[in-house]
Each structure stands twice: as structure tokens, then as C-alpha cells.
């Protein structure tokens, strides 16, 4: 008999937990940057189209797959997908739904720990009186485990471990007693903090508190449509990618949460409510904070330059400085709210990442809740320490690329094919609409069967063979030179090898050689984890056969 006795406390709690799973750091840091880089206001058109034809279908697919697997007592993707077809190989595809979460949690908890640390630094006034360069230098020193400002030895390691302990403790309290309780507190606070910061973001006036632009300049920069970009496949690819990451689909967490819902209860409305809540946080709140505030104080040119480095740089190297332009007290309050908001966005997602592994151990090996939670914490600690210690050598980015980007697309592609073509759309549709509290539009039968898998295939192929500079026109005209960001070039370490070939300085050559070593070592580690989970799935399968369950 399974040791898994988890359940949700309330429907609102489940929706908040599911929304919390989807709402992550990317809502505030990735979305505005993607919008700026891909046509401003016109980005929202492909973005919303992709949400309707890829995001919503994937949410329904994952919710219904989870609930279907839960009927048979499965709460992790290997055996959830195993129940959907007689071919026993599917469960190894389901390994992605555990592996991705462990690998992503390893580096994600590290960013989460920065937010925790930065909240404390905002309170004690570390950033008070510092100029922008000094705030940026603080971040660089922090991630290279340099001098500790708080007097705590190995400060980033300390906060990382603290963050992991917090996650593990909450997970050990179970779904309703831990995860759901945190979501019920965290999500409303996140929205409250977001509304406050968005209000500050849209009320900046040039000349006040050192601002050089009105907030309208930043909002114009973000929302002015560049319709010509709508014809660029790169923009659509970016929009599809953003929808993917923002909804936390292709990870296995949605399946796990939904597996605790009974067959007669609704999933269609739940999925819509959680999905749109995520969109509200991303599009309404996320768009009103980072870019308008940064442009208000730094100007368009400087922000365009900073945006190239991604949202993390703006969030940790720039905003703490900008907040203190509003005065010491408001600067500290805003810092706490900003990093508090990011912390809640992060922890509600990282908690979700722990549940598939816990569900697997509880279902298959009769582990208790506490033991499975602590085992998750330990594995994430072991896998995550290289991201902390060798951050500068690209270990963090490597995990993010393979586990947090490529793996999601691969798993979602497989699951959409499994659901629509192998399990069958007739049964699939029955699963989506069973117990539904809303009428699911019939057009989605067609979308789920044809559009979603094709779109996912296109996203995958587009990432696999991305042409140089995203120039699809040249590629289709016969000049298909792969970009360094394509999966194939990444796999070959082309960019690093080119840099190494061009380097002349001995110190630079040594750094690049070290980076190459750590990048390859990270991949071996990630593959080893994947194979270990696959082995456990095999052992669990054999155990089931022995016990006559299969």
C-alpha cells in the first residue's frame, strides 16, 4: 500500500498553489526583457496567441494527465504516463518530469537565496548611499563568494543552505499543511507587493528624486508596437518560449499537483483560473516594474544596454540602487517588497519542484513524507553546490539551459503527442471535460490534436537549428548557418571554443579552459542524475511486477 496520503485542503488553496507554481522569477525578470527585445507592444500579440493555442492546451493536457494518473495512485510523471499506454518505454520519458525539477531546483534555489539575502541587505541598509557601480560590484562580489558584508562566512552558501532548509521543512509538512499554506500567504503578499511597486513604477516624474524620465517613457518603450517584427519567426519563437517557461509546463509539477484531484472534481476551470492568474502577475504587474523604473532613472540607452545582459542583472545590480533614490526609508521598504515578491514567486515554484520526487518515493518505495522531503533537500544540495561554488564558470547557466529550457520543450512535445495521438483525443477530451465547471470550447479538440504538437515541434526544431542572428529569411534562402545559441552549437561548445581559439592572454585562456571543463562536468552530472532516476523507475517497475500490481 502506498505511503502517500497527501491531499489538498481547499480548491482556492490548490489554485493558489498551482498559480504559485507558475508564477516565478521569470514573470518579473524575463517577460519584460523578452517584450523589449521582440517588438515592444507587438510582442503581446504572438504572446497571447501562443497562450491560447499552446499554453491553455498544455495546461489542460497536464491537469487531466495528472488527475488520470492519480486515479491509479500515481503522483509522478513516470507512472502517470505509464498508465496512458501499454508501451512500457513511456515511463522513461516520464523521467523528465522528476529530473527537470531536481536539476532546476538546484540552481533556482540559489537565485531564491539571493532574494532572501537581498531582503536582509535592504533592511540593514547595505545599499544605502552606494552608487550604481558599487551595487553592481556588490552582486559580483557576492556570487564569487567574496567579502561578506553581514559578517557571515561564505554568505551565499549560508543563504543557499538556509533556503534549502526552508523549502525542505515546508515540503515535509505536506501538501495542505506546507505547500498550500505558503501559497495562501505568499500569493496575496506577492500581488500586494507587486501592486505597490507597479504603482511606483507608473508614477515616476522626471526631475523628482533624480529621475530623468517620466514613467511614460519606459511604458512607451515597452508597449509601443513594432508590427514589422510580427513577421519574424524569432519573435514568435520567443513568445512561444516565454509562454512555456511562465506556465511551468513540461516540468511534471502540474501533473503532480493535479494527481491529488478526484475524477469527479473540476480541472478545466481550475486550470484557467491558475493560468490567467499567472498572466495577470506577468503582463499587468511584471510589465509595470522593472522597465519603467529602470528607464525612469537610467534612460533608454543605458537600459537597452543592460537588457542585453538579461533580467537578473537589472533586478540585482540596478534596482537596489534605484530604490534608494526614493529616500532611505522608502528605498528599504521597496527593496524588501521587490526581493520579497521575488522570494515568494521563487519559493512557491521551488516547493512545487519537490513534490514529484516526493510523490515518486511515497508511491513506489513507501517512503514517509518527511524522509522523502529531506532526501529531496539533500539531492538538491549536492547537485546545487557546483552552481554556487563555480557560478563564474557557467555551471549555473548550463543547468538552466539543459534542464530549465531544452528539457521542458522535449517533455511537453512528447506529452502532447502521447495525450492527443497515443492516448487518443476521444479519451483525452473526456478527461479534460469530466467534472468540468465550465464549457470547454470544442475548437480545443482540434487545437490540442494538431496545433499544439505542431507548435511545440516548431519550437523544438527552431531551437535545435536556430539560424545565425535569428535570420530565418537567409536560412530559408539556402544560407543556413547555425547560431551559437542553437542546441547543436551549444552541444558542441562552439562559442566557448571560438573564444578559446581567439584568446591570447594566458589568464583568459586558463579561465576559458576551466569554463569548458566545468561545462562538460555539469553535463555529465546532469546525465548521471537522469540515468539514476531512470534506474529507480526501472526498479520500481520490477517491484510492481513482483507484487503483481502490473
Amino acid at each position: 500500500m502506498s505511503a502517500n496520503k497527501e491531499s489538498w485542503g481547499s480548491r482556492v488553496g490548490l489554485i493558489l498553489a498551482m498559480a504559485g507554481n507558475a508564477v516565478g522569477l521569470g514573470n518579473f525578470l524575463r517577460f519584460p526583457v523578452q517584450a523589449v527585445q521582440n517588438g515592444g507592444g507587438a510582442f503581446i500579440i504572438p504572446y497571447l496567441v501562443c497562450f491560447l493555442v499552446m499554453g491553455i492546451p498544455l495546461l489542460w493536457i497536464e491537469w487531466s494527465m495528472g488527475r488520470f494518473g492519480g486515479k491509479f495512485g500515481h503522483h509522478s510523471t513516470p507512472f502517470i504516463v505509464d498508465t496512458m499506454h501499454k508501451n512500457r518505454l513511456w515511463k522513461y520519458i516520464g523521467v523528465f518530469g522528476i529530473w527537470t525539477n531536481i536539476a532546476v531546483a538546484a540552481y533556482y534555489c540559489y537565485i531564491e537565496s539571493w532574494t532572501l539575502s537581498y531582503m536582509l541587505h535592504s533592511i540593514v541598509g547595505t545599499f544605502q548611499g552606494l552608487d550604481q557601480d558599487a551595487v553592481a560590484a556588490f552582486f559580483n562580489s557576492y556570487v564569487s563568494i567574496g567579502k561578506s558584508t553581514l559578517g557571515i562566512p561564505l554568505e551565499p552558501v549560508f543563504f543557499y543552505v538556509l533556503c534549502l532548509l526552508l523549502n525542505t521543512f515546508i515540503l515535509s509538512q505536506g501538501l495542505s499543511g506546507g505547500v498550500e499554506r505558503v501559497a495562501k500567504v505568499g500569493m496575496p503578499l506577492l500581488i500586494l507587493f507587486g501592486i505597490f511597486l507597479a504603482y511606483k513604477g507608473v508614477t515616476i516624474t522626471a526631475g523628482e528624486n533624480g529621475a530623468i524620465n517620466d514613467s511614460s517613457v519606459g511604458l512607451n518603450f515597452l508597449w509601443t508596437p513594432n508590427y514589422e517584427q510580427l513577421w519574424s519567426p524569432s519573435v514568435w519563437l520567443a513568445a512561444a518560449g516565454q509562454i512555456f517557461f511562465t506556465l511551468s509546463v513540461g516540468m511534471g509539477t502540474v501533473h503532480c499537483y493535479a494527481s491529488y484531484v478526484r475524477s469527479k472534481d473540476d480541472i478545466a476551470l481550475n486550470a484557467m483560473s491558475a493560468g490567467w492568474m499567472n498572466e495577470f502577475v506577468e503582463v499587468v504587474l511584471g510589465a509595470a516594474i522593472l522597465i519603467p523604473i529602470s528607464i525612469g532613472y537610467l534612460g533608454i540607452d543605458r537600459v537597452t544596454e543592460l537588457v542585453q545582459l538579461g533580467g537578473l542583472g537589472l533586478a540585482f545590480k540596478t534596482l537596489p540602487y534605484l530604490f534608494f533614490q526614493w529616500g532611505d526609508v522608502l528605498g528599504a521598504v521597496s527593496g524588501v517588497m521587490w526581493f520579497g515578491l521575488l522570494f515568494f514567486a521563487g519559493i512557491t515554484s521551488s516547493l512545487a519542484m519537490g513534490t514529484p520526487w516526493m510523490g515518486f518515493l511515497q508511491d513506489e518505495f513507501n517512503w514517509g513524507r518527511k524522509a522523502s522531503a529531506w532526501s529531496f533537500g539533500l539531492i538538491v544540495f549536492i547537485l546545487g553546490m557546483p552552481t554556487v561554488l563555480f557560478f563564474k564558470y557557467g555551471v549555473f547557466d548550463e543547468y538552466d539551459y539543459w534542464a530549465g529550457t531544452v528539457s521542458l520543450v522535449v517533455f511537453a512535445l512528447f506529452e502532447s503527442i502521447l495525450f492527443a495521438w497515443v492516448f487518443g483525443m476521444k479519451k483525452g477530451w473526456r478527461e479534460i471535460t469530466s467534472g468540468s465547471d465550465i464549457k470547454v470550447p470544442g475548437i480545443y479538440k482540434f487545437i490540442i490534436k494538431f496545433i499544439t504538437p505542431l507548435l511545440l515541434l516548431w519550437v523544438f526544431i527552431g531551437s535545435l537549428v536556430t539560424p545565425k542572428g535569428g535570420d530565418w529569411g537567409a536560412a530559408f534562402a539556402g544560407n543556413w548557418v547555425l547560431d551559437d545559441s542553437s542546441i547543436i552549437k551549444k552541444m558542441m561548445n562552439s562559442s566557448l571554443k571560438d573564444q578559446l581559439a581567439a584568446a591570447t592572454d594566458a589568464a583568459q585562456i586558463e579561465t576559458l579552459q576551466n569554463t569548458l571543463f566545468y561545462v562538460n562536468a555539469s553535463r555529465i552530472l546532469l546525465i548521471a542524475v537522469f540515468l539514476s532516476i531512470a534506474l529507480l523507475v526501472y526498479i520500481a517497475y520490477k517491484k510492481r511486477v513482483r507484487e503483481g500490481k502490473i
Partner: protein, 52 residues
């Protein structure tokens, strides 16, 4: 703000906020199903027990 940016921004914000509120309101107001359901907090509410 320029007009096209304002139109896109307001349309998006109103649509996304409206749909978020609509679906959440629907979750809150839809009549709950009788026990046993998926949620434990309401297990002891007498009016929600299935009639035998």
C-alpha cells in the same frame, strides 16, 4: 504615452485582469460538489455530505 502604446497596454491590461477576475470569481461561486471531494477542509460540513 503615445496612442498606439496606450491602446495596446490598456486593452491587454483590461482583458487579462478581466479574465483573471472572471475565472477566479467563477471558482468562488460555483456550487461545491458533495463529499467525498478532493479537498479536506470542508469534510465535516454537514450540508455537503452526500445523501444516502
Amino acid at each position: 504615452m503615445n496612442t498606439s502604446a496606450l491602446i495596446i497596454m490598456l486593452t491587454t491590461i483590461i482583458m487579462v485582469t478581466g479574465l483573471t477576475l472572471y475565472f477566479f470569481y467563477k471558482v468562488l461561486t460555483v456550487p461545491p460538489r458533495p463529499e467525498p471531494d478532493s479537498y479536506t477542509d470542508n469534510d465535516d460540513e454537514l450540508e455537503r455530505q452526500a445523501s444516502s
